[in-house]
């Protein structure tokens, strides 16, 4: 993947010194417009986050001040300490981390396993099966959430940890994404291993899996983020407050403390911050993973 993306760059930077044309005024204007657009868009994207962070440390009456002030008169950093005692933040974060880790593990494991079957083992009915997988990517969860809820409730799984784990862990997306990657691994590699007497599982574990580090990281990060941010699943399935995830907990907190603006913003920052960290650490894998296969939405 990196080789692929590096290639066009190498070409374009190599030909610059030789055919350097005098820059025309139109080009300069274009560049200026480009920078202006880039800065304007960055501001538009970032301002809500900046406002959110600043509002979280403001005194309550300054959040909606007219005319607005960006900076608080007194910085209430203690909001970030108080939120842990004023809400069940610890429970919510704990639950969410637990869900996200279980789901990510299951999705990566079953997804890469199935993708190997679809990509490297030739068997009858494979293409039909894969077509069914692909077709369901076009079916929104919202359309079948009712029968799914009814089935999981019927076997007593609603309002349990299992419901959220099952809900997220078997997405067709993971299979699709890993298969995209496995298709780029040359067939000769597994063929040679087969001749050397390695079993299919051996090939998967010793050859394919070690090669797929970056895509597994990408799938892992994407799944983790999706599970962390999921609101609808927990909203429908979870009733007991001790099972609440951060999204559901935050929403409950907002409706119970609707006038405590600064605290609400503190909670919001807390729900965004871990994902920001995960994203900044893994953004290369994240963005490349999405660029190659889209993302479940």
């Amino acid at each position: 993947m990196t080789a692929q993306t590096a290639y066009p760059n190498a070409v374009s930077s190599a030909d610059v010194p030789f055919n350097k044309k005098p820059t025309s005024p139109a080009k300069i204007i274009g560049t200026v417009i480009g920078y202006v657009a880039m800065i304007a868009c960055s501001l538009f994207v970032l301002l809500p986050f900046i406002w959110m962070t600043l509002a979280s440390v403001k005194p309550n009456n300054e959040v909606f001040m007219v005319p607005m002030k960006w900076l608080p008169s007194v910085w209430h950093w203690e909001n970030y300490v108080n939120i842990w005692s004023d809400s069940n933040m610890l429970t919510w974060v704990g639950n969410t981390v637990f869900f996200a880790i279980c789901v990510t593990f299951l999705q990566v494991f079953t997804g890469s396993f199935a993708a190997y079957g679809f990509s490297k083992v030739k068997f009858r009915g494979r293409n039909v099966l894969f077509l069914i997988y692909i077709a369901t990517l076009a079916v929104p969860w919202q359309a079948y959430m009712i029968p799914q809820f009814k089935i999981l409730s019927a076997i007593g799984l609603s309002d349990t940890r299992w419901s959220i784990i099952l809900l997220q862990a078997f997405g067709a997306f993971g299979v699709f994404m890993m298969k995209q990657f496995y298709d780029t691994i040359p067939e000769e590699l597994s063929e040679a291993a087969r001749l050397d007497g390695l079993s299919e599982f051996g090939i998967y574990r010793r050859i394919v899996l070690p090669l797929s580090g970056p895509s597994i990281a990408a799938l892992g990060i994407i799944t983790f983020t999706n599970t962390w941010n999921d609101y609808m699943g927990p909203l429908i399935y979870l009733r007991s407050p001790n099972l609440y995830t951060i999204q559901l907990g935050l929403k409950t907190f907002i409706s119970q403390n609707s006038a405590d603006y600064a605290m609400i913003m503190t909670g919001s920052v807390m729900s965004v911050l871990p994902i920001l960290v995960v994203f900044l650490i893994g953004q290369k894998q994240f963005i490349e993973g999405i660029a190659t296969s889209g993302m479940k939405g």
Binding site: F44, T110, F123, I254
Partner: protein, 319 residues
């Protein structure tokens, strides 16, 4: 999605053909190999496939049945034939939800596409700081909907919100945003576009980077201006990416739920009530699961129809 599967088909066909003689020289008969491969293939797929069948395929099939039943909170579904469908035709709230979904999609899809395409073209240039910009633009997509909706709700506050304070510099005729039936939907669309443009930008950028620069150079030598190069080189080369983006964007717009649920809860009145939220409301707030499934079927059909149309159009264009 037969389009994406087609290349995979041809690949396996050539691979299978190439490998056959090799296998025949070995100790096992080709039937034994086929059987062995089948068992191996199934073994690899089973863990995911079980979950997939149980949590997705079966629910989708069951949906077709429940949609024609009456099913309240307790008891089991009772078959009622087309009663639910008749009710649907006379349900004004359903009609509102349907048209709101269309309204949202018709504005949100082109708006997001244009902005995302513009940003992708910008990022495909040699401007400095574009790596930073890519990170920034993508960030809203991975933030939690609850936090994002809450922040925008505060920013959109009609009297004291930041947005109206800013607009107040230019005009006295300020929109009421989330408190007004006219302006609530535009506010939702603004937030949705803000959130998703960066994601589609990444997809489109990946497509742009696959276009060989020789094509542009050749077109430039032939005297094509920037506008012509865009329509004659960029757009045709981007067709597969644009197709994927359009399908994703359309389905994403039809199924919009969590954003309106958290931002406006469908209000004021029914002005931002969309199909998926009507499904949620009928099912989980009124426990009328049968009728909610009927509404789900409409959502399901809408997504299928649009996806098929886009397939057909894409295939026709490729020929």
């Amino acid at each position: 999605m037969s389009h994406t599967a087609a290349p995979a088909d041809s690949k396996t066909a050539t691979r299978g053909g190439g490998n056959k003689p090799q296998h025949n020289k070995g100790k096992m008969s080709s039937a034994a190999i086929a059987r062995r491969n089948f068992l191996h293939g199934v073994a690899f797929i089973t863990p995911n496939f079980l979950g997939f069948v149980f949590l997705m395929l079966i629910p989708v099939c069951v949906l077709f049945y429940i949609a024609n039943t009456r099913w309240s909170a307790f008891g089991s579904p009772v078959w009622t034939g087309i009663t639910n469908w008749k009710r649907l035709l006379h349900d004004d709230v359903f009609k509102d939800a349907f048209w709101n979904t269309i309204y949202y999609s018709v504005v949100h899809i082109p708006l997001t596409l244009i902005i995302a395409f513009g940003l992708a073209v910008l990022l495909n240039s040699k401007l400095k700081g574009r790596a930073f910009f890519r990170t920034v633009a993508f960030f809203p997509y991975i933030t939690s909907i609850v936090a994002v909706a809450q922040v925008w709700n505060m920013l959109f506050d009609a009297k004291t919100g930041v947005i109206n304070q800013f607009l107040g510099i230019f005009t006295d005729n300020l929109p009421g945003w989330l408190g007004s039936t006219t302006w609530a939907m535009p506010a939702v669309i603004i937030v949705a576009t803000w959130r998703e443009a960066g994601y589609f930008m990444i997809l489109l950028l990946a497509g742009l980077q696959t276009i060989p620069s020789e094509l542009y150079e050749a077109a430039e030598l032939d005297g094509a201006n920037a506008w012509q190069r865009f329509w004659k080189v960029t757009v045709p080369c981007m067709r597969p990416t644009l197709f994927f983006v359009m399908v994703t964007l359309t389905i994403g717009s039809f199924k919009i739920l969590d954003l309106t649920l958290v931002m406006t809860n469908g209000g004021p009145g029914t002005s931002t009530l969309v199909l998926a939220q009507y499904v949620y409301r009928v099912a989980f707030e009124r426990s009328d699961f049968g009728y909610a499934s009927t509404v789900s079927m409409v959502l399901f059909a809408l997504c299928m129809i649009i996806t098929l149309i886009q397939f057909w159009y894409n295939n026709a264009k490729e020929k």
